[in-house]
Symmetry: C2
Subunit: 201 residues, 2 copies
């Protein structure tokens, strides 16, 4: 995802196990995981690195929006005080992370915020789908957030603000308002992520 491995590169289990000083077994498992995430494609001989195109990132965000839309549809009409408390805590930690330039922590809290919402829906199958894209989204957020912190630190504030807006919308228990707010937020991150990831790749 960082672009370190160029699209089309062929990875072999032997080569990787030598490179990382471990045996083929854990490498093999890692390759399966990456394949499930769609980052590599397993073929007869060797695993080929799939480059991330703008389209791929858009598709990733299609799925994020799809999942979160579904989840919020279920949550919107109920009161979720304990969820909101956790979300506020997460935002507080984002602020702390921004203050002390801890971009890893910031990215993690951003992910955490959305994950909390999904978990709240209490839907095993949806949670599985989330888990299947969780790592790749975390990776995207890490790369993007690092870049954001480095290039334009002030750009972090509107991001935090958007999460505040989502909480406000949640409190209103107005389904439409909630969905709008989430959609707007995702459009925003979608653009930022696409821009930073494709620069590096």
């Amino acid at each position: 995802m960082s672009g370190e491995l160029k699209k089309g590169t062929i990875l072999s289990e032997n080569q990787l196990s030598a490179e990382f000083g471990m045996s083929r077994s854990p490498i093999r498992e890692a390759l399966r995981v990456l394949s499930n995430e769609g980052l590599i494609e397993l073929q007869r001989m060797g695993a080929v690195v799939i480059g991330l195109t703008t389209r791929d990132l858009n598709e990733l965000y299609d799925v994020r929006l799809l999942l979160e839309h579904f989840v919020l549809e279920r949550l919107s009409e109920v009161n979720h005080d304990s969820l909101i408390k956790k979300l506020e805590q997460s935002i507080d930690q984002m602020n702390m992370a921004a203050k002390y330039d801890e971009y890893v922590e910031f990215a993690y809290q951003d992910l955490r915020f959305h994950e909390l919402v999904i978990i709240e829906a209490d839907h095993k199958r949806i949670l599985k789908l989330w888990e299947s894209i969780r790592e790749i989204i975390l990776a995207a957020l890490l790369i993007t957030t690092e870049k954001r912190f480095r290039d334009d630190k002030a750009a972090v504030l509107p991001l935090i603000e958007q999460h505040h807006e989502m909480i406000k919308a949640l409190k209103s228990q107005n389904t439409e308002r909630i969905q709008d707010e989430v959609k707007r937020h995702f459009e925003d991150t979608r653009n930022t992520i696409t821009a930073s990831l494709l620069n590096e790749a």
Copy 2:
């Protein structure tokens, strides 16, 4: 899924490799796959079998509907003659399968029908999600279809009819009609599958 392994049963790699006369490596991979599908849960020692509840099956159908809804939203306004031709072919094969009591072929064509629609959307990430539930849905269809063929063969006809209706709706290029038809079809299968699977489990 057939209920052969009761909920809570603990599977060990050693035990399974002995039982199936193969080494731990392929068993291990199989367990990962089952874990990704949510049929077992990997814990520190042993993998525990997750029983399928009514709720689990409903959740599975939530996801099917979610995916197909998303896909059809994208397809509905365009003309898809080649897709429709393939879908009609699939229905023909369902009819053949019904005629000659080939329930495996029937179940496969049922799956195929919906898979064709998803493939047509040409969306990598959505296709990955589909692939992650494909096997479990096929298993469900196989069990259900076998039971349907055995108990009440005539019940197969409305099922075929529903697929016809979906094609008609697709031809109309009326988004709302398409979505309604798919929803109705899924409600139907959802109930049938829930009923047959829980009897056996």
